[in-house]
């Protein structure tokens, strides 16, 4: 579930960045007043939001990896304990 969320966030972030970069490039190629205002406001807000989304995705991904690691370590520990219990005492 968490992994699919991360992928969705990165996808959304990519689309938002494409739009933002497109708006900013348009204002450079064709510097009309309305394009400049749109690029400097909507374009930059979208770009900032998409970077925040990407960073959130990375944090979620790292958290997921840490919890997966912890659960696998726990499973190994439990397995070891069960093996020790079944062994006959010397």
């Amino acid at each position: 579930m968490r992994h699919s969320q991360v992928k969705k966030l990165v996808f959304l972030s990519g689309i938002a960045t494409l739009v933002a970069v497109g708006l900013m490039a348009l204002s450079i190629v064709s510097p009309k007043p309305i394009y400049l205002v749109v690029a400097m406001s909507i374009g930059q807000a979208l770009g900032t939001a998409s970077l925040a989304l990407f960073l959130l995705a990375i944090v979620l991904d790292l958290q997921g990896a840490a919890s997966r690691e912890a659960s696998s370590e726990g499973a190994i520990e439990a397995h070891r304990e069960s093996v020790n219990e079944t062994k006959p005492a010397p």
């Binding site: 990165v10 450079i28 510097p31």
Partner: protein
């Protein structure tokens, strides 16, 4: 500057499109590449784009990109015109930035207040002047938001110069104090402006 911005925009778009099309697993290398494509490169585009955009907003073609400014810009660019706008536009020290140099606020935050007024221009252009004829004849008369102050002229014209003192002797103190405006006497600034045309003057005289 523009080339740097466009190159960064192209690189950023290429990285994002690669990710969106291929959908590779989010390994370390993919994350680093995406950080460049989604973070660093767009930041460079924004920064260089802002600088390039700001520089362009100082230029006369930018001011002339709204049709209501047509008469002003045509006169300023007319090599035969003897108006103050044209004379100053022919001066290489003003170059392409003659509108901005004379109309920008001359204070510590002058650039900021000038750009805020620019946003006001855009709002008024869209709300009042859209579809008002090739030169905006059908719209309201264009006026400055506040009186034209002498400090804009005094950026270049020193009131202490010998020739200036000789020719302005009687009114010197009044001019320096801003009680007498430079353009009260030197009033051929924008002779072809719509506000100077007889039709506009008649409309202004009407109650």
């Amino acid at each position: 500057m523009k080339l740097v911005a466009l190159a960064c925009a192209a690189c950023s778009a290429a990285i994002i499109l690669w990710y969106l099309v291929r959908r590779p697993p989010l390994g370390r290398l993919t994350k680093v590449l995406l950080l460049g494509g989604l973070g660093l490169l767009p930041m460079v585009v924004a920064l260089t784009g802002n600088i390039a955009g700001y520089e362009y907003t100082l230029s006369r073609p930018f001011c002339g990109s709204c049709h209501v400014m047509g008469p002003y810009v045509r006169d300023a660019e007319d090599p035969k015109s003897q108006s103050l706008a044209a004379i100053h536009s022919r001066n290489h020290r003003f170059g392409e930035q003659s509108c901005y140099v004379c109309h920008a606020d001359y204070k510590i935050f002058g650039a900021v207040t000038t750009k805020l007024n620019g946003m006001r221009h855009l709002y008024r252009y869209i709300s009042e002047y859209a579809g008002t004829g090739p030169d905006g004849e059908g719209g309201p008369t264009i006026r400055l938001y506040k009186p034209f102050t002498n400090d804009k002229c005094m950026q270049c014209h020193s009131t202490a110069a010998k020739k200036y003192v000789e020719t302005h002797g009687d009114q010197l103190e009044q001019i320096r104090a801003g009680e007498l405006s430079c353009i009260d006497c030197h009033n051929e600034v924008h002779p072809t402006a719509l506000s100077r045309r007889p039709v506009a003057k008649k409309a202004e005289a009407r109650p």
